[in-house]
Homo-oligomer: 478 residues x 2
């Protein structure tokens, strides 16, 4: 049985209510990567927990303990487990989402206050977390709301896992999944995560692969405090000089990773594999449009797609402890931390890459002949993941997409990381589907992050319809 | 006639009053390099102007107009001109100081609030501007206060020039000096600036040379906005990758400047010149003690001293627009500005060095084959300066130092820059003396900047005594 037409028309009719609920969620700056905002992440957990209860979900807020960040011991925000239905004649679907967000401030270059959801004429809903990942989470909430208010039984049993540390390494979640494998998650048949994006701005997509991540900080220190460059320039070894030199040895201007052995782990694509990427609805104009500049690494669409989906990438994010403000400050910073991360693809793993990075940086630092101190910190990591896209879980999602969007979805691998995807796949041994709500130009982690109203609305219908298609699946087993 | 003993004993007796006046001055965060604090710099100008009037100085606050900084047009803080005496039988001494300060915040690693003067048990007065340059300016104020309150005529005529943009390129001052050369500054015989430091922590110094400065910002941009490194990693040219690569090509870990032609402008020291540095009361332990780490570029004292006094230096200060906060943010910054400066020595000039830096960076950027945009901005600059230390102005200061400290001062060249020194020397054609109040470990521009109470008090006596020694000078002419 397909999704009830009354559900679909109700979603259309509820647009304003959904936007106002999203505004409320965006207004809570649940930034997990900044210690100062940790209480707001917990506030977001409490808010979402209350919303889930209103629509009939049995929930449990789980204390994940504490972790140490920037030298401080901080409480982890409560994760939320949810449950509806235990009908053994129905499939049980596990839904994952996260309610924390990336840092954001007007000074980063936003056109409007990042934590005030702003609706633009063209339908864009601009705000931090609108697309990553509060919009999709509220999409699920809407599906549950209709079934609750209309007393309509769901076509499947549902289990939920929502966390507040996804943007900061999903601290504590691995342990939770392991603990609940035979508890809260017992009997789960498949899983759906809506936390990524279409490849472009026009074609819905299903995603069956993700890159992993290793995020490093290179610490260089020497002076007891910041120094005046006039008084100390050319008398002492300057930490910034050493750090910049090390960071310059990690990646070249064409995106090639210079850490020996890292690029080599990944084989070259054969003709058959290239075809997968050639088929995708994508162009250089798409990537440059989304990036907002004519800066693609290649003029060949397939090369660019493979760089994003089947190759590792190394990005230099910034430096902690150096002068970052406006104006001209003639300081020699005493202690600087250079931040960079590498996106990983199979067969790469954090365990295999970490020692390569550390030993390379240590040997390069030794070459400098500096008297400063250097160490490399792994801030967090996650393995890459690839799923079987011929599984019934994907078949249901393809059918649901065709029903709602009248288009066959692109089957993609994504460049981003959702480390828990792999945790769930490995711990529960079930097929995991990534079902994106937003478009390729939503700008997650960026300034002016947005979710298009049409994606919010049609995406909500898609999530509901997907559940009905799962309900029709005849195959048994995971 | 030497300085009156009653003046010297009054200074000792006024210690608490002087510290409380310094506390008031430090409490005004007159940061000239941060647009947000510009009104506080003007507030400092108004406060100092009122203090000068109280001690009988005829003053004039001069509107220096506006300037553009970080894209904003900002009013420049009023400079203060002051005048006491026009006795043609006395020498006329021009005093310069500045009332603006470097940026500072607790988060930089200060042990106490930077804008609250904190007196430590060992007599250190900790606070931003305590030593650079509010302490010395208040030292002059104290000398004037005693003569005013005791109705004692000064041994010389005085002219004053205090500015509020010294830490940000002394914007507007060159024009002021040129305008007032035959006006307010007419008849000046010599000049004294107290805005630098002893070479060590035990020997008073006179300074006859300063390094110049060229401060650059390398701007690299490409994307229309910040990007997600998962979605865009290895698909686009990343501005940070280009910037870090360029910054790494400027200086090596041993302090050698890699911009072709810059180091070559300065000749090698012959035996006679080396002797000047070998004579100075200085050790590797001094530089490492002041730096707070065993990070000297050489074990040879003379090499380190020449690196600071007679060689150019290049320091990398930081990056504007990159991720600088705590935690882990997986961002590809859209627009980044790398900041670095070169300290110059004769015969180097900003005009000679700027084109070398720009053309080198442009050619290195071209080698990267990046589609990003790059440009190099000169934020500010100042020529280097060397004075005749056999002039009567120096003879008087040496005698005054011997009277107060019972020590012969080190004759030094300083690594820092006070661009206006050269402006005054060139415009007025007079001998300029740098008469430091603070010690080599005061930490100007750094965290926990301090001035020792003994330097504040003895230094105040020294400034007064110096005026009396000038009063005794028989030589005529500048």
């Amino acid at each position: 049985m397909p999704a009830p037409p009354t559900f679909l028309s109700w979603v259309d009719a509820s647009t304003d209510a959904f936007i106002s609920r999203l505004s409320h969620a965006v207004a809570i700056p649940s930034i997990s990567g900044d210690p100062a905002f940790r209480p707001r992440v917990q506030e977001m957990s409490d808010w979402l927990n209350a919303e889930l209860k209103k629509v009939g979900v049995e929930t449990k807020q789980v204390d994940l303990g504490t972790h140490v960040m920037d030298g401080q011991t901080l409480p982890l925000p409560n994760a939320i487990l949810g449950k509806i239905g235990s009908d053994t004649n129905k499939k049980t679907v596990l839904i994952y989402g996260h309610f924390d967000v990336q840092p954001a401030s007007l000074s980063d270059g936003w056109d409007s206050e990042p934590f005030v959801l702003t609706t633009l004429k063209d339908g864009r809903l601009v705000g931090r977390g609108s697309s990553d990942d509060k919009g999709p989470v509220l999409g699920w909430l809407a599906v549950l709301q209709w079934h609750h208010e209309t007393q309509t039984p769901l076509p499947v049993n549902l289990r939920f896992c929502f966390e507040g540390m996804e943007e900061n390494g999903s601290e504590g979640l691995d342990e939770l999944v392991e603990r609940e494998r035979d508890g809260w998650f017992k009997g789960v048949d498949c899983m759906c995560i809506s936390d990524n994006y279409w490849l472009n701005t026009r074609t819905p997509a299903l995603t069956y692969g993700l890159r992993g991540l290793v995020y490093f900080k290179i610490n260089v220190s020497g002076p007891g405090r910041d120094l005046h460059s006039g008084v100390f320039g050319r008398t002492v070894h300057e930490p910034m000089t050493d750090l910049i030199s090390l960071m310059s040895r990690l990646v070249d201007a064409q995106g090639n990773i210079l850490v020996p052995g890292v690029d080599d782990m990944v084989g070259v694509a054969d003709v058959e594999e290239r075809e997968i990427y050639e088929k995708l609805d994508y162009s250089i104009a798409d990537v440059e449009g989304a990036a907002g500049g004519k800066i693609a690494l290649s003029e060949d669409k397939t090369t660019v797609l493979m760089g994003r989906m089947r190759l590792p990438s190394l990005s230099l994010h910034g430096i902690e402890g150096a002068f970052a403000g406006p104006g001209a400050k003639t300081v020699i910073p005493a202690k600087v931390g250079g931040k960079f991360s590498i996106r990983l693809v199979p067969p790469q793993t954090p365990d295999a890459v970490e020692p390569l990075v550390k030993s390379y940086l240590e040997s390069e630092f030794a070459k400098l002949g500096s008297k400063n101190k250097m160490d490399v910190e792994l801030l967090h990591s996650g393995k890459p993941w690839v799923a079987d896209w011929k599984h019934w879980n994907y078949t249901a999602a393809i059918k649901a997409t065709e029903l709602i969007y009248k288009q066959t979805p692109d089957l993609t691998r994504e460049g981003g990381s959702i480390p828990v995807t792999l945790t769930f796949a490995e711990q529960l041994g079930v097929n995991v589907l990534l079902l994106p709500m937003g478009r390729g130009d939503d700008g997650a982690h960026s300034t002016n992050e947005k979710l298009d109203t049409s994606n919010f609305i049609e995406g909500t219908k898609l999530l509901g319809t997907y559940l009905y298609e799962i309900g029709d699946v005849k195959e048994t087993g995971k």
